[in-house]
């Protein structure tokens, strides 16, 4: 794709998708907020009446707030599956604390003399609440709703991890694809939404002082209206449902290629690869975009559909390293090449299976592997400089980083510092070019499509053969970045479409063309 494309061009080009994601984002935010108000407001009133419950309720809401958002979303999947439901549930849990706390604070803060006067005048408990306590607490409650809104707009970006849509699709897709415009196309509207909603609510609050009664009635109406923005993406209504990662969605060798080369039309949701395999196993999804060496392929009994038209370019893994580091650590190239050709697809899948599914530590898996290959040597505890190894944020990269670390320590006098879990390609590669790490394992396909990004013609010509791809990225990296590709490790961790084994068998689908035919014969 065109590197010089501006943010504005990108947003215009993707305006349909951008609008859809924005609408989903608004919808998600307000459904969650609406339910959070429905739950939080009565709960806040309740604990202001029965103060002995205020500690426990606020405590639990506070604990919910401290759970990392992604973890909370993860907890929701076994209970509520994927899609809008778990996302809304998680978002509303985040919105609860400020709403409950501000309702409680607001109501307990109402002047005791005013409350006493209301009771002495002969108002019932309900009348005191409705006519005195809630209106007087409203500014504080509103402040809580505003806080909750801003939090929810922010956290809702993570909803794209579990196929609930929203602006997170662009943000996380952009991070995976090393596409700054895409990140900004998601991040800027999300930030604007937060600012806009906060502003609008503040206006509503000002209005509130004078036309209190109407404003109080308008708030739920407004929330319902905005909530109705959200609907589940059901573009093609096919029999099977696919879940693709944000990265896969935006790639020519991903969903775009499936559409243009195979003409595949399938109902698609965007989902994080962390939960995708499990969702397929639990029949929430039928087709997913996995990696061919992923351990979960084996764990969840999934089968790879053959890419009979060859749209997925080869993704052979090899360490990439700064030229300056090679000069600094003279022995390093030979040590790293000890691993060349040692791991094939099935070996890698097995190693991944041990970490991803059997939950063994990458360190143990790496050590066991080196022992089995008779490559392990005791560490020399050398002090001739420190080699910094990076890795992306998934199991396979952790294993490779550990293997390289052990090899370097055993075969040289260098010490090693690992910086694992560096997010996606963009983060890892930026760390390398900025001299924050010396090397990390990269894949030829990623180097070609995500980093070098040559013209479509070049891509089509080189990606047909694994050798051509390797040579192209090797030359390109050396010229452009002074970074060297060492010898490939052996396995090809390419994109692949996967299905549950028994379903694929039942429907007699072995290749992607089979899948297309099945979808078209409705």
């Amino acid at each position: 794709m065109n590197e010089q494309q501006s943010l504005w061009d990108f947003m215009r080009q993707q305006s349909g998708k951008l609008a859809e994601q924005t609408v989903q984002h608004i919808g998600l935010t307000f459904i969650s907020l609406f339910i959070a108000v429905l739950i939080g407001l009565p709960l806040g009133v309740f604990i202001s009446r029965r103060k002995q419950f205020s500690g426990p309720v606020l405590g639990v809401a506070g604990i919910l707030q401290t759970i990392p958002s992604i973890a909370l979303l993860g907890f929701m999947i076994p209970v509520l599956g994927i899609g809008a439901k778990p996302a809304i549930a998680a978002l509303l849990l985040y919105a609860l604390l400020p709403i409950i706390r501000n309702t409680f604070t607001g109501i307990t803060g109402v002047d005791a003399a005013v409350k006493e006067a209301a009771v002495a005048m002969g108002m019932s408990k309900w009348q005191v609440l409705k006519k005195v306590e809630l209106p007087l607490a409203m500014p504080v409650i509103f402040a809580g709703v505003r806080t909750a809104t801003v939090i929810t707009v922010g956290v809702a970006t993570l909803a794209s991890y579990i196929a609930a849509g929203g602006l997170g699709e662009f943000i996380f897709g952009g991070i995976s694809l090393n596409n700054t415009n895409m990140i900004l196309a998601g991040a800027i509207p999300a930030a604007l939404l937060a600012i806009l909603f906060d502003f609008l609510l503040s206006r509503l609050q000002l209005l509130n002082l004078k036309k209190l009664k109407t404003a109080t009635k308008m708030l739920p109406l407004l929330l319902i209206l905005l909530s109705s923005f959200y609907w589940l993406p059901s573009a093609y209504g096919s029999k099977l449902k696919a879940g693709f990662t944000p990265e896969f969605m935006g790639r020519r060798d991903g969903n775009l290629g499936l559409q243009s080369k195979y003409g595949l039309r399938i109902r698609t949701v965007v989902i994080s690869d962390a939960v995708m395999y499990k969702a397929a196993y639990e029949k929430q999804l039928d087709v997913i975009s996995g990696y061919s060496t992923d351990g979960r392929l084996r764990a969840y009994n999934l089968v790879v559909l053959k890419d009979d038209k060859g749209i997925f370019p080869p993704y052979y893994a090899a360490p990439i390293i700064r030229e300056s580091s090679l000069k600094k650590f003279a022995l390093l190239e030979n040590v790293l090449n000890l691993l060349a050709g040692k791991i094939n697809d099935s070996t890698m899948t097995a190693l991944n299976y041990q970490t991803d599914y059997l939950h063994q530590s990458p360190e143990k898996v790496a050590k066991d592997f080196l022992v089995s290959q008779k490559l392990l040597r005791p560490a020399q505890n050398g002090n001739e400089g420190v080699v910094r190894i990076g890795s992306k944020i998934f199991g396979e990269q952790y294993i490779l980083a550990n293997i390289y670390s052990m090899l370097i320590k055993g075969y040289s006098n260098y010490d090693v510092a690992t910086k694992t879990g560096l997010g996606g390609t963009k983060i890892c590669f930026d760390a390398l070019t900025n001299d924050q790490i010396d090397l990390y394992p990269e894949y030829t396909g990623t180097g070609l499509l995500a980093i070098l990004q040559p013209s479509v013609k070049v891509i089509d010509s080189v990606s047909a053969s694994s050798k051509a791809t390797y040579n192209y990225v090797k030359d390109g990296f050396e010229k452009k970045y002074n970074i060297k590709w060492l010898k490939p490790i052996g396995f090809n961790n390419a994109y692949a479409l996967m299905m549950r084994r028994e379903q694929a068998k039942k429907l007699n689908i072995k290749t992607i063309s089979n899948l297309k035919r099945y979808l078209d014969n409705r």
Binding site: V114, A118, A120, M121, G122, L209
Partner: protein
């Protein structure tokens, strides 16, 4: 009209009110007087059930209020608070209209009644659209009083109603309070810690200490026949002034000499001695002429003669 029998209120181990009994006649103004923590406010709040008694009975018009629905009971009792308790989010008109709205009066009736009350309380109708925060302390207190009076309840409970006002505003409101016809047909129980206020406004005063009634009686009964050292100690600081205020000209009538009227202002025999003395001080008079209401007899007295009559009255009281 109001009858309290063996009323107790315990907050845990603290005995806030401990077995008190009293009666208030119709159209009487009873003052509960005492230091803070003596149980006077707790007693007051039990009468409209803002606080539920631990034991004891309260009757209003012969009906046991503890058997009535609290909301209905409260709509029939006016309540005025120290810090007025006006709703800050309601206008003056809305604040005053709270009880009639609970009683579902029609709009016109409410409006008419509000205008009537504002006039009596010397409040401008221009204030109707204002919020309590925009009013002065005195105005707020008047609006609070209007709110309590609007549904014309037979009983009015007042919890230190003038406590938050400065002295000048307070004495002005005291004068209006005494002159207000609406209040003359009400049975009022008022709580205060201000001795002068109690003597100025009360028909009878009930002095409380540590949850019990120490003495109950008219102002002069308390002054001239204090039940014990606590009562006399409590009143000591203001004693002379209170005495002069609580004695009226007809009380000392017999000690005033009969002599022909001299030059000087005429006052009725219901005037208290303090007010008579003020005429000497502020008007530089030598004599005042006092007219007896029933006999239409007129006696005139100099300052010295007035004082001498007062002390003779006092001496006689002490011997009784």
């Amino acid at each position: 009209m109001i009858k309290v029998e063996q009323l107790c209120k315990h907050f845990g181990k603290v005995k806030a009110v401990e077995g008190i009994s009293f009666e208030v006649e119709e159209h009487e103004n009873l003052i509960l007087l005492g230091t803070s923590g003596c149980g006077k406010t707790t007693t007051l709040k039990m009468i409209n059930r803002l606080i539920e008694p631990t034991s004891g009975k309260i009757f209003i018009d012969g009906k046991n209020i503890l058997e009535q629905q609290p909301e209905v009971l409260r709509r029939g009792i006016g309540y005025v608070l120290q810090n007025n308790g006006l709703f800050p989010h309601y206008t003056v008109a809305e604040n005053i209209a709270i009880v009639p709205q609970l009683l579902k009066w029609d709009k016109k009736r409410i409006e008419k009644r509000i205008i009537e009350l504002l006039e009596k309380l010397h409040l401008s109708t221009r204030l109707l659209g204002a919020y309590p925060g925009e009013l002065s302390g005195g105005q707020q207190q008047r609006v609070g009083l209007a709110r309590a009076l609007i549904a014309d309840p037979a009983v009015l409970l007042m919890d230190e109603p003038f406590g938050a006002l400065d002295n000048v505003t307070r004495s002005k409101i005291h004068a209006e309070f005494k002159a207000l016809d609406e209040l003359k047909r009400k049975t009022i129980i008022m709580v205060t810690h201000d001795v002068q206020e109690a003597f100025e406004l009360g028909d009878r005063i009930c002095i409380m200490d540590k949850g019990r009634i120490v003495q109950m009686g008219t102002p002069s009964e308390l002054l001239f026949n204090p039940a014990d050292d606590f009562v006399s100690g409590f009143l000591k600081e203001h004693k002379l002034q209170l005495e002069l205020r609580s004695v009226q000209m007809h009380n000392i009538w017999q000690w005033l000499a009969i002599q022909p009227a001299k030059m000087g202002p005429g006052i009725p025999a219901e005037t208290n001695v303090w007010a008579g003395m003020e005429l000497f001080k502020f008007n530089q008079e030598d004599f005042i002429n006092i007219t007896h209401k029933e006999t239409h007899e007129v006696k005139s007295a100099s300052f010295e003669q007035l004082m001498s009559a007062f002390y003779q009255y006092k001496k006689q009281q002490a011997h009784e």
